[in-house]
Subunit: 481 residues, 2 copies
């Protein structure tokens, strides 16, 4: 073989070569923060430890939840192109520089939440194993900067103002704004999704092509160099690594649009009907755009031991949000598992327009410990308590108490009360928090009380959406802040 030698590998390349696996399209994925807990590694889907979400009103970039459908594409910003087309519209191409220089800049603070957040609760007895099986943390709040989609469409010849005022008729063939992304599967099919035209036409809709996240260029996991941001809509609408925008009479034909992110009635058999891809059979699915009211307690952390030496109350913190621009008018918390509730103080340091409230609301309150609990603590006993929250949105819609009557075959739009179990310990200093070791279990721990098994202990079905064993909860060692 010596005569075939064309050179020697450097020591670095030797390591690379020995680690190299055939066809690992995720090889070039970025390295993630260890507190972004992986639900799946390839593609990467990670939720922040939720106790970190109440540290800041704006979620830091490295902790913002990441929902990838495919490998993170490697895009040279100089090669980046945004294509805009539609029937009766001249095809336009924009470079990153075009976007950055030709239009007024626009900023928006918005929470994003994955449609499937809290899907974990549908596992266990329901035997629905759809990846990623988020526990609770697929929601974050960031400030995005870019240019309004309506401004770019206007440049392309769409009379956005006339249509927004109802003076020019909305064309049937533009009813859907399809997004196609740079990320592709092995067969070359890219991520695709669509949103309604009225959302981008709304002068206060704040739908943008974003190229900055919290003042920084978009991180690769969040769509570098350009993504859509569609406030008030499910995270899947804010397509990352955006490549094409197509105005069409039809919604996107992708399976993301027509199956994955749909709400099906309970009669639809997931393993039978939904594991296949028959557009006729899945016509009962309702595509999700905007999401229902949500809230969850972040602090103290799920399943932790809380020191309550000489304490008479316990501080609770969390986040709440509603899709469709609906505000949060009240959040109440319970420390007796939902029997009695106390109103909390709400925090939102920004001003938003009514029905255009994209950001989340944080809540906090010191809840007095019931006399009975205090008595037991005084005897030196530890006491387990069950905390949950319920939010009321500005339409006065509520979070349902339990999951059972509302579960759905794809595990989307899940918003029943999230329970946090704590152990109060009168022998530990007031305010000290001890997290139980994660062990085989997932960092954010499953929602309390709604199912019997932890997902870590389950086998896997033949779900086509499932790509890798999600039990990984190891912090990538190479991560550097």
């Amino acid at each position: 073989m010596e005569k075939h030698r064309i050179g020697n590998l450097s020591p670095e390349d030797k390591v690379k070569a020995s680690n190299w696996k055939f066809g690992d399209m995720f090889e070039t994925d970025p390295i993630r923060h260890p507190d972004l807990l992986a639900c799946t590694e390839k593609p990467f889907n990670g939720e922040p430890r939720i106790e970190l979400l109440t540290n800041d009103f704006i979620t830091p970039n490295e902790l913002h939840y990441v929902r990838n459908h495919l490998a993170v594409p490697v895009i040279d910003p100089k090669e980046y192109v945004l294509v805009i087309k539609g029937k009766g519209l001249k095809r336009h191409k924009f470079t990153l520089e075009d976007l950055e220089t030709k239009f007024p800049r626009h900023q928006v603070v918005t929470a994003l939440q994955c449609c499937g957040n809290r899907r974990e609760d549908l596992h266990g007895d329901r035997r629905i194993f759809i990846s990623p099986h988020w526990v609770i943390g697929a929601m974050s709040n960031a400030k995005w900067e870019g240019v309004k989609i309506r401004d770019v469409l206007e440049y392309c010849g769409v009379d956005v103002d006339g249509i927004a005022l109802g003076k020019v008729e909305e064309k049937e063939e533009w009813k859907n704004v399809q997004f196609e992304s740079y990320d592709t599967d092995e067969a070359g099919t890219s991520y695709g999704i669509s949103i309604p035209f009225d959302k981008v036409i709304d002068p206060f809709g704040d739908a943008i092509f974003a190229f900055k996240m919290n003042g920084q260029p978009l991180p690769r996991d969040h769509g570098y160099p350009v993504r859509a941001i569609v406030p008030g809509h499910a995270g899947k609408c804010s397509a990352k690594w955006l490549h094409k925008v197509i105005l069409s009479s039809e919604p996107s034909k992708s399976s993301y649009q027509r199956k994955s992110y749909c709400h099906f009635p309970q009669e639809v058999d997931f393993e039978g009907v939904l594991s296949k891809w028959n557009p006729k059979e899945i016509s009962s699915g309702k595509t999700i755009q905007e999401l229902p009211v949500q809230s969850f307690v972040c602090n103290p952390p799920q399943n932790s031991i809380v020191g309550v030496k000489d304490a008479t109350d316990i501080p609770i913190k969390g986040v709440a949000w509603s899709g469709g621009g609906k505000g949060i008018v009240r959040v109440e918390v319970s420390i007796d598992g939902g029997k009695t509730f106390t109103e909390t103080d709400l925090y939102k340091p920004i001003k938003e327009r009514r029905n255009h409230e994209w950001s989340w609301t944080q809540f906090s309150k010191r809840i007095p410990l019931p006399e009975e609990v205090q008595k037991r603590l005084k005897k030196g006993e530890t006491v387990k308590i069950d905390i949950c929250s319920k939010a009321l949105n500005s339409d006065f819609n509520v979070q349902p108490e339990t999951m059972e009557p509302y579960w759905n075959p794809r595990g989307v739009a899940i918003n029943h009360w999230y329970h946090v179990t704590l152990t109060l310990d009168p022998n530990r200093e007031k305010g000290t928090i001890t997290r139980l070791p994660d062990g085989d279990d997932f960092g954010n721990k499953p929602s309390g009380g709604q199912f019997k098994h932890y997902w870590g202990h389950h086998g896997w079905t033949s779900d086509p959406d499932h790509q890798t064993d999600p039990r990984a909860n190891k912090a990538p060692e190479a991560y550097q802040t």
Copy 2:
């Protein structure tokens, strides 16, 4: 006394005089349809027998629920004036003829629902007796015609298009559109309420000054000659007998705005705090504008006997609606009290814009009788079943299963599952419906299962909103269609 005689009373006047009571401001109220079941007589508040609501997509005028706060004012259409004013705005006055002739006509089909619909369910153990204590039927669907409020405001000098596009700043002093009506209490205080300015500015908001209802001039009970119609908002926003429109930095100062139609946390003591009128103490109340998702089964009628000779299924019909322009994407019904649900067929014969869906949706489905039930029927036994429905709106918000965790001191925005109890009788012809006599009980019957007592059996508290004993359920004999 003979010398004091100034004439003889006619036989008609003799009857009038003997029926006359001192200071009955309701004397001139119109006569109502017997199927409009009175929750209170003075002022009149009536809900249609709900089994009639699925007969037509559009509720006939005489069956549309009526919510009056005061006596129906007697207004000469020639004397009618609509006043429009606001800081920095020239005061304008419009006659009925002005409104009918100076602006383009606009029609809108919308459901209206009273904020307090289903308040009945909060009575009983909660001991909250707020009038009117609607059972379930304070919701109807009609076609209204009039002129857009935004067109009239534009005529008055408001740059509605500039503001709607965000090109002209919305003035702080115009943020609230206050309505004042012609109906007044004995002290001369009129009904008043306010809505957000953005609602009337929305080019697709369909907020109108209406003077026609289902093709007829407004019936007196519905605001003759002119009322506001504010689609998607609680019924109280659609002020009847409209007299003044005031653009203001402040919401209406009326108790309707600041107390009656507010959602308070459960901690607020109704008898203590809310029976008084202390604006500071009631600051925790959130004024309702838009209402949550709702649905209820109308047919077969509550508490009736249904013939099921040789039947293998039972037809169910009902209505669903969501406030804020949210559509209904699915309604499911259960005939086993909520254990299992079946998707229904939806009916809405009109087209509406996304997020501007004002009309209700009707639903229907033949639900197969479970084998176990069929076995019992075959033996000749009657079987009691518990039917309920749950709707999913286009934000994927749901109706909660039970009332308990969501009750609120004023009894507003109530939308848990409505239960209908039926007796299936295999000895009666298929499809025959036998309504049990109303007796002391109310026509629509209370919602099943959520409370212990019927209101008809209760005494009354000192609630200032309560004016007359609402147990009246007699059809006015003089009613002529």
